[in-house]
Assembly symmetry: D2
Homo-oligomer: 353 residues x 4
């Protein structure tokens, strides 16, 4: 079997605007188990839409962007459903930026000899394939971006913004998440940014510039995300998967407190995951548990136990067709870092207390 | 809190004809992970529809009937999608017959003190409630049915047929699965029949009639189901959950062989489950594993890893709107036990070899 | 690859007497997550040992007998740890009786083409193999046993007792569970008995004797198990896996009530399983949920989330070395069906109320 | 209920030297399912011990340090079993450094109202409690450490080294992982370092020093870890949980390649996790899948499906009592960053190719 035979059928990203899941979600509301949980999650996300001032955070972990949900997430920016994104590096760099560069994910299989794939330079994500050679072009682009930047310490948000600018110029796909986020001033944070294809390009950049170079400071990420939370006050989380991004965004409530500002816990929280609650890890920890830490309010929280590609399209389509987003405005939160000093933000937050 | 406050909101069973999931399933076909698996499962079920002669078996374990999928299963009979049913006792007696008698499942919660529920005679199924008193009326009806039957050994299928007749006369809900199966001559098998509310009524019947009484012979179940497999030759399985019903129906291939008839393995097999493959149990064993036992053909098989109430409505709606079922006919397999001797069936099967 | 190369390394059943897990269990008591749950489960099982009059029920589902725990279960009979067994048919017939006949389970692999296995007549249980030809000899032995019995309706317990007698005469392995249970008068119930290799032999027996034959009446099983519960009053459950056996034994409390006898709920309950609680099925339903049904007392109950072969040997070794079993006596409960009428048992039970 | 009643029973960390799990592991080798996987994982870890030159990496995600395995991990340093650690921030800061400061984890419960806990400043990790006030003292210590450092960009490894130095002076518990790692020159990397209690202290430090401050550069982490991989050539991974640390260390193979050095894939890999493989995420992705990416060799890899607190103590005790570690030497890899330039390391690596 040859590489071109295995990289033939492209993963097509589901379009939430192309079908209306409203009757399904409505039916699920009067059912049981995960279907009722799904409807409840959709209802909570809808409340977030209707509360115009609420900071809506999209939290991404796992590979659903590769697996056909990529357009949902970029459409969420376009339709003002989310105001900030916290993600693993892979979702942003290896998947979204990757497709923004014109590369594709392919329909693969899980029952294949991985040694054979390696020899063909095919990388496998469960039942999905990409070309390792395409991915290396991503690494190179990242290095190129870093090489062009003023040396110093950046948050991942600042670097990803440069990636958006790069795609606007060099991209091959009009509406990648990274590019749209750049254009709509939506901040994207990857608290473990170098744990992705970006890591390779950045290490190479530093290797070649050992004395002075671009660094990614994850403390700055945390600081900026906490400033956003302070700035907006109320917030809601729509979480696909868990891991570092889930914990990171939840912690902003505590971080604000550490900085002397009393912000409310996250008012809304939805998580879709198959992680098992019984191992004590963060990915699987319940949203009620997060409440003991003072992070999430228990009134409007829902975990949905499902592999997310089956559920996210339904909820997203329901929200889209519900049209509550039409009354929302672009928050353009990236601009607060240009417009306000940290002191001004803290003052505003204290005034809102 | 009082009982009537907890038993207020009724579980409404989703109607697969009321919305069209075709665009969603079509989109899932080009995605990854469980969504692609869902589309593939739908495609296999569609092949079963198009192969008019194929014996379509609905296999039920778990509580999806209680959880809002009950109407889907009875509609599958009505629309000629399934020709025989193999199920746990609970799905047939505690859930379907129960609602056939006019009782209801209620929207409950999982985070409630079960000792309080017990004192109020409320039974909990994860997040769903029923009244224990209603369930006891089921037990009584079962005993009444048994009391009215000629003493002797019956298969569960024969007994469930009497339950259908009983509902036709005394039922309060027009289209229960048990009643429709009776009317359309669809055999229902519960290989562990007394492991359900039926067990209580039947034990009481036997207790009062210790010398001579109605017995449920699970060997007869196995014999009859194997005869059906022999009679129809090709077969496909649509399995919701696993457990005893899954293994039972798969074993008919081997059983036919033991009786000297070479029948083909199940040609199509779909299973929707959250059971974890790694514990070596049957519920979770892959359909490929079943192939090593000579039970299931590996060409058209798909396991979908999902809590079934989120997936079954999508697949069912897709199949309904696909209309391939319109060309199928009611197989009325119950009648073969009246029309043919066991020798005639075996002869027919040998002729088909 | 040839069959003999794949069936070479035998699964050896772990001997709980050969190592002492006491220090590990003691350490786990002060840890967290599943390790603490394991220690708590061991403590509950120990309470069951110390309460000499308590009816200790071993509940088996899944394939741990095949997977190396077979000797633990037969030793539990020998060392008076359990007084009655409720099991899937597979654990009793395909696994234990199978090895009692002199056959073996073999160390296999899960990553192998199941079509190849089928051609070699090798059956796969996840990573474990058996020879299909050996299993067929089991079917034949079952048929032989049935052929030699007086025609009529039997409980699975009565039939399994005949299997024990058969092994005493024809067996090749001294201490199979089935044989020991026969010798120590420990009743074994398989509520879905024909869903196992026994089904094949019994169907063939009935096929050859269509007018009059041996039948397995699962209602009788339920009646007998309820009589045992009534006879002993207090009870504790040690459950490996879930499924039909779990529900069946739990239901005896309700069944006794239906027969007019007020018996206490199961006082102790331990379950080791990987089933996920979120699908609403019985295998995964919590023991607290069972309490809402009036089946299990919530004071001493523990679910352990683990693949059982990793945990059962630790708990069993802890119990064995704890020696509380030394003060227990063989309850020889099989004999109550010979010594007492159903009326006498009910009278005794009412007197104990 | 008062706080002091809930924080009474301390989690005691299991001591792998205090019991010998060798007979259990030996028995598991001839069993099936997860027990055989456990034995195989132990065997692979033993190979890592015997290969003296092999870089042994301990990878930590999840909360097993909090849950009673903390001493195992620090003993692994002491007994030369591991040469480098890659971890989530929580395991290092919130758990290990926290106890190093003299604070404790407590035996809690999962079925408690989290709102009540929050009011008492008790944080819950599934069934385990800590005092929020103690944790805040950790944040303060971190800030103090940062305040005392020369401003600039550090890897998490460099910062954690300062934490070790701090504990040597101010710690209350002799053998914390962080302190032992400092004393034995074992590098610890947290690729998402600010996603932990450390984040709070560091944000506060930066907030107070907005112009010039300590930053944590995750690119530097990746660069340093890749240098270690290059320096040692062969490597093996012992992974508890998955998430960012798992992916991060696996990527070093690819990163070396990007820097022009051909290093071998990780030769040994063990992962203990309950993550479900079917969601396409990294935590759950099989080690075979990692092989398609050119990261892990498939010859000696084993995933064990278990909640790690039940399995890690068995494997660790087996390794300890096997004594192969006695022949190993402390690699003191921290020193390579002082002794060698990056050019020298790359030269050495190329010479080893």
């Amino acid at each position: 079997m040859e590489k071109k035979d295995l990289l033939k059928d492209v993963v097509k990203h589901v379009d939430m605007t192309s079908f209306d899941a409203t009757p399904i979600i409505n039916a699920m509301r009067s059912m049981s188990f995960s279907s009722r949980d799904t409807a409840n999650a959709a209802d909570i996300f809808m409340m977030m839409m209707k509360e115009k001032e609420c900071l809506n955070v999209l939290v991404l972990a796992g590979s659903t962007s590769a697996g056909g949900c990529m357009k949902i997430y970029s459409d969420m920016i376009k339709y003002k459903m989310v105001d900030v994104i916290v993600s693993t590096g892979a979702s942003i760099v290896d998947m979204d930026f990757f497709e923004g560069m014109g590369f594709k994910h392919f329909i693969g299989r899980q029952d294949i000899d991985d040694n054979d794939l390696r020899e063909m330079y095919i990388d496998r994500i469960y039942d999905t394939f990409i070309s390792e050679e395409d991915l290396q072009k991503c690494d190179t682009a990242i290095k190129e971006i870093a090489d062009g930047m003023k040396h110093g310490c950046y948050s991942s948000r600042e670097f990803i913004r440069e990636m958006g600018k790069y795609l606007q110029k060099n991209g091959k796909k009009p509406e990648s998440l990274v590019q749209l986020a750049y254009e709509y001033d939506v901040p994207i944070f990857c608290p473990a940014f170098s744990d992705s294809s970006a890591g390779f390009g950045l290490v190479k950049h530093q290797w070649e510039n050992p004395k002075s170079h671009v660094s990614i400071d994850s403390v700055k990420d945390f600081r900026e995300l906490t400033m956003i939370k302070m700035f907006c006050k109320e917030s809601g989380l729509f979480m696909v998967g868990g891991g570092v991004p889930k914990n990171f965004v939840q912690d902003t409530v505590v971080c604000a407190e550490v900085l002397g500002v009393d912000v409310p816990m996250h008012k809304y929280a939805v998580q879709i995951t198959v992680a098992d609650v019984r191992d004590g890890a963060c990915s699987s920890s319940t949203l009620k548990e997060a409440s003991s830490w003072g992070k999430v309010n228990t009134t409007h929280e829902q975990m949905v136990y499902a592999e997310a590609t089956t559920i996210v399209p339904l909820i997203a389509s329901y929200i889209y067709h519900g049209k509550a987003w039409e009354k929302r405005e672009y928050k353009r939160l990236t601009q607060i870092f240009e417009k306000y000093t940290q002191e001004q933000i803290i003052e505003k937050a204290k005034a809102q207390q």
